[in-house]
């Protein structure tokens, strides 16, 4: 049987080489698909910190994904229209610089996750699933009914936001940006899970009473994890907005929350490279089955059902025949 690490390395190398090769063969569409995989995987890495490591089944991560997306879209639209974001008490201009947009997306996602988490973490189990879903719906309906930034129609970004030294409109350049973020997020998640904080978080998932007994407050632990998780997903949202050059409430919809969860499950819960495997499989299926049948989501549903019912370790679990420990 294969071990997990070589499989992970192979996956990352595949994600890197496929778009480089496709770019050399002048297949920009494939590069865009790979970029989408990297971005979705980053969003799922974020959720995985809450869900896989913390055992917090959040059904509302679309809220953070969309908030990051709207952060990018709103800043860019103000820059495009030369309208300052606010003029009082001081003037804030919009921007198309990714280096400014990213911290804003991280901050906005973090604040939202802190607020939603602070309320939601008072509950647990099914109530937690439902209340995170409800908060995401709240943000969704707000975006739909607030007319200033496009409402239901969404918000276009006419020119992709820029990064110094890169031409982000070239597919391979933008892929590189998304890929580096994916690697950074994954590395961060691995380091986090090995840190004292990560160990305590996993401890709180396995046995909350013991964690309490050694003097750690699980509420604060989980709130920090949930906030970090929301920030990473928000960053992925900002990248996704740039990929499509468009932000719409559909980024905030409950289906998006479900899909980010599906990436993790297809790959394998709690595995560091599960999000990549899951997102890659999802995009491949969308692309391959979408060509075969208009109703590809039917087949996706059947596959997902089979994975949940029979292949508990997800894709990486099937390949390595190893259940995740811990």
């Amino acid at each position: 049987m294969l071990r997990e690490t070589p499989v992970n390395i192979a996956l990352v190398l595949l994600l890197l080489t496929v778009p480089v090769a496709a770019s050399a063969m002048d297949e920009p569409f494939i590069v865009t698909l790979a970029t989408k995989v990297a971005i979705f995987a980053t969003a799922a890495v974020g959720l995985n910190i809450a869900l896989g490591h913390g055992g917090l089944v959040s059904f509302g991560h679309a809220a953070f994904f969309g908030i990051g997306g709207y952060g990018a879209g709103i800043l860019a639209s103000h820059a495009q229209n030369y309208e300052p974001l606010m003029t009082w008490p001081f003037t804030v201009e919009g921007t198309q610089q990714m280096l400014i947009i990213w911290p804003v997306a991280l901050l906005a996602g973090g604040i939202a996750a802190l607020a939603i988490g602070a309320l939601s973490l008072r509950t647990s189990g099914v109530y937690f699933i439902m209340i995170t879903l409800a908060f995401a719906q709240m943000v969704f309906y707000f975006a739909v009914s607030w007319p200033a930034y496009g409402g239901e129609d969404g918000l276009p970004i006419y020119v992709r936001n820029s990064f110094p030294g890169l031409n982000t409109l070239r597919p391979l350049d933008f892929f590189a940006v998304a890929f580096v973020w994916f690697l950074a997020a994954t590395l961060f998640s691995i380091l986090l899970s090995r840190s004292r904080f990560g160990l305590a978080l996993q401890g709180a998932r396995q046995n909350v009473e013991r964690v309490r007994a050694v003097g750690i407050d699980p509420y604060r632990l989980r709130l920090v994890a949930f906030t970090i998780s929301g920030m990473i997903t928000a960053l992925a949202g900002a990248l996704y907005a740039d990929l499509n050059r468009f932000v719409s409430p559909s980024m905030l919809s409950w289906q998006t929350s479900g899909e980010i969860m599906v990436f993790i499950i297809l790959g394998g819960v709690g595995r560091h490279f599960g999000p990549l495997a899951g997102a890659a499989l999802f995009i491949l299926l969308e692309y391959a089955l979408g060509g075969v049948s208009e109703y590809w989501k039917f087949l996706l549903g059947v596959l997902l059902l089979l994975v949940v019912l029979f292949a508990h370790g997800g894709l990486i679990g099937v390949v390595t025949r190893r259940r995740h420990h811990g």
Partner: protein
């Protein structure tokens, strides 16, 4: 703002509330007895609506369609329970969410494949078309009044079923202690299938009734499903009484919020801003209500501890 308009909005809120109750009752029963979160409950609502539309179109009778919606949803529910859901009772909530999310994809795309993407329309049966005069002027749709009546009848029937019949005793016993009632010789597998089919039939019934006011289309179930979740979380998961109170609360809050908030904001700002702020806030109102309830009582109004 006239009194008649306000009465009309309150009735609309009641109508939304009782339909949400019919949806939420099944959901909360299934959770209470089997401990299962069923995201596919909205799909059963859709199945009911499509069955009603298809049979009504073929036979010309709304009532046959309504009967078909009950039967189709109950049978679909029983099959789904036996084939898939049964394997999920012992799993954690994450697996349940994902498996039933997968069922939504299967049902939605399957229905799109069978019926196409275009919405179907159901006609109000002739006997219920027309309007009833309201006190203070104005008139109200007879069909919507009939829906309110039907919802209240279903609620009464459910309370009787749960409180007064042998099946109800078994359901309550199942909520309290599964192993014990299995040990006492109740066929727990069959009981679960019956509860699931009952919940499914209720969802299908709601789908058929609401499908007549709105259009019957793929994806119609999910917005209602999420509202029904809000209802059972507010009411306390597992409690029929909580679902009833929660449903009325959500129905009235949502409807009156959409009606009154823009008017209220109109008194302090100009009309277009007031409409924007009011409607944005109104669409978030029930989620705010839910958050407030959960902060004050994390187990819902009538729930036990989390």
């Amino acid at each position: 703002m006239s009194a008649a308009l306000l009465i009309e909005q309150v009735l609309n809120g009641l109508q939304l509330g009782v339909m949400l109750f019919v949806m939420a009752a099944g959901l909360t029963l299934i959770f209470g007895v089997m401990g299962l979160i069923n995201l596919a409950h909205g799909s059963l609502y859709m199945v009911g609506a499509f069955a009603c539309a298809a049979v009504a179109a073929a036979t010309g009778s709304f009532w046959l369609g309504l009967a078909a919606s009950l039967a189709a949803a109950a049978i679909t529910g029983a099959i789904v329970e036996i084939v898939v859901i049964r394997r999920l009772y012992s799993r954690d909530h994450l697996d349940q969410v994902l498996a039933t999310f997968a069922l939504i994809l299967i049902f939605s795309e399957g229905t799109r494949w069978l019926f196409g993407s275009f919405p179907l329309y159901l006609d109000v049966p002739p006997i219920l078309s027309g309007a009833v005069p309201l006190p203070g002027g104005g008139a109200y749709s007879l069909y919507r009044l009939a829906i309110i009546g039907a919802g209240i009848l279903v609620a009464a029937g459910l309370f009787l079923l749960i409180g007064r019949t042998r099946l109800g005793i078994r359901i309550r016993a199942g909520e309290a202690d599964r192993e014990m009632i299995a040990a006492l010789g109740v066929d727990i597998g069959r009981l679960y299938t019956m509860v699931f089919a009952l919940g499914a039939a209720l969802a299908g019934f709601a789908g058929a009734l609401v499908g007549t006011i709105q259009s019957v289309q793929v994806g119609m179930g999910e917005p209602v499903l999420i509202l029904a979740f809000v209802v059972i979380v507010i009411g306390g998961i597992g409690s029929i009484k909580g679902a009833f109170i929660g449903a009325l609360l959500v129905g009235i809050t949502d409807t009156l919020g959409r009606f009154l908030l823009p008017i209220a904001f109109g008194t302090v700002m100009n009309a277009s801003d007031a409409t924007a702020v009011g409607s944005a806030l109104a669409s978030m109102l029930i989620y705010i209500l839910m958050a407030v309830v959960l902060v004050v009582r994390p187990g819902g109004l009538y729930g036990t501890a989390t």
